[in-house]
Symmetry: C2
Subunit: 298 residues, 2 copies
């Protein structure tokens, strides 16, 4: 890798900047960011890399371009960079859903350019360059999307890049990716947003001041329900077919739970509550979460 | 307060033991525990207090009895202690739902005994005396249930007790309590159990190994879905009317979300996602959660 351009410098973009710089992965590092407030933050924080004023400046000088903007920005930026990108330049991104992006790339990106999609499973409820962390991707999974026409050589470059960042890499198709993450990420976020929304509705209707009693469970969900709204709108819209199916499965199961509760079906309830417990143990064993009660809060 | 008996020494019972002992709240401290494995743990951990072999030994020597067993045990224990409890003895508990317990007390407890229900909003996904923490109740809310016949003198004793433990006290009716916690605690637990169950169903159906990708959201829910099954079965059964209503509200909202996603209703989605974000800020401001991204995990 020689020169890298990061387009969009929020939480993930700034974390990549820090990691690339610390690990000396790029010879030159460029940042393109359209938000003036983010540019001011980047300067104040003295983040590594050179801020380019035009996309062209960054694109023509880079071997790898990493899209770190909301996915709804991709099309517009693709149409711009088509005018000056060289066929030697490789493109990737960090977006959380893949089929829709795949279609946009196929439809709009100049034919001789390869864009290999990435999805590092890292992030948090906060946004913006001020929250960037050099180790955000360390030991986290990064999914790389392998499509029929993807050149092995380019897969290798992207794989090597993420491994140097510190991630564990796995290849899969866009279809499999979007199915898996509709369950492990998109549905959980939707359910968290929906739970907090329901609590707000209830509070309004009952005039009870209930948020102060959120330590009994609601507060866990409120973290995820504080995630960036543009990012999550894009994910919900882009992966709507799989998310719709996930919602149906979830509602069917919830209705069954309700039935079991109302009929006091002890055997069925206990079986479920014991089964679900196993997932936590598996997650801890797979080192996908901290091994402390209550997330080690106290 | 002179002598205190803790019945049931799991996470909350053992935390109370430690706190009562550390703060010298009782002259004598007794423990009644029916599980042999827990008794062995209590001895090994050298928890403060004297283990009594019979309920009678503990009850006749105590001024305050605190039920820390699953709620489904209350009736059986009440019927036993009725035989030897003195009218000078005050009873409380730490159960998470209140209307049903209220009815059991009214129906089965000897008429001259006062039981003032408490609900400290503290706990975690782990169970057992080995997890007890002296500061579990510090700065946490404790709800005290005030009923028509509750003597003010006794409310004062129980209030003083929890304040000495370190909690902030609020009084409310069993009805209001069960409504509020159906939303802030019971529904979140049910939804977490149901989400993990849905992920398990999906994994089985698709033969995808998806738990390893749980860092995108699912892992937050898995913590709550690892909570004690007996405790939560009891809560779901005891508060089934309010929980049923909460489920209906939740499903209605989720169907609306699904509709908005499928029709790409940008305005409605963005409005919801911005609104729900505010709850996190409020929770942090009210000091009901840790003020660090990602629960300060990394």
């Amino acid at each position: 890798m020689k020169n890298i351009l990061i387009i969009g410098c929020g939480l993930l973009g700034s974390s990549l900047l820090k990691s690339i710089s610390k690990k000396k992965i790029a010879k030159k590092l460029f940042i393109y960011e359209k938000s003036k407030s983010n540019i001011a933050k980047i300067k104040k924080l003295k983040l590594p890399g050179k801020i380019v004023k035009s996309l062209k400046d960054g694109v023509i000088n880079s071997d790898l371009i990493i899209f770190c903007t909301p996915m709804s920005e991709y099309k517009k930026i693709i149409l711009k960079i088509n005018n000056f990108i060289s066929s030697k330049t490789l493109v990737t991104d960090i977006g959380s859903s893949k089929i829709q992006t795949s279609q946009i790339i196929k439809k709009f990106l100049k034919k001789d350019i390869q864009w290999i999609q990435s999805h590092p499973i890292a992030g948090s409820e906060v946004s913006g360059p001020e929250h960037g962390k050099e180790n955000l991707f360390n030991d986290r999974w990064c999914i790389i999307i392998k499509e029929k026409n993807t050149l092995k050589k380019n897969i290798n470059i992207i794989t090597k890049f993420w491994k140097r960042i510190g991630s564990k890499v796995v290849l899969m198709s866009a279809e499999k990716h979007d199915k898996i993450f509709s369950i492990t990420s998109h549905l959980p976020h939707l359910v968290a947003y929906n739970l907090v929304k329901s609590a707000q509705d209830f509070e309004k209707k009952q005039s009870y001041d209930l948020i102060k009693f959120s330590a009994g469970g609601l507060r866990d969900f409120s973290r995820i329900a504080a995630s960036n709204e543009i990012m999550w709108r894009d994910i919900f819209f882009n992966n709507k077919k799989n998310i719709s199916k996930a919602i149906d499965l979830f509602i069917n199961n919830l209705n069954q739970f309700k039935k079991d509760i109302n009929s006091k079906n002890n055997k069925s309830i206990i079986k479920k509550l014991i089964q679900t417990k196993k997932v936590r143990l598996k997650i801890i064993k797979l080192k996908q979460d901290i091994d402390k009660p209550d997330f080690g809060r106290n």
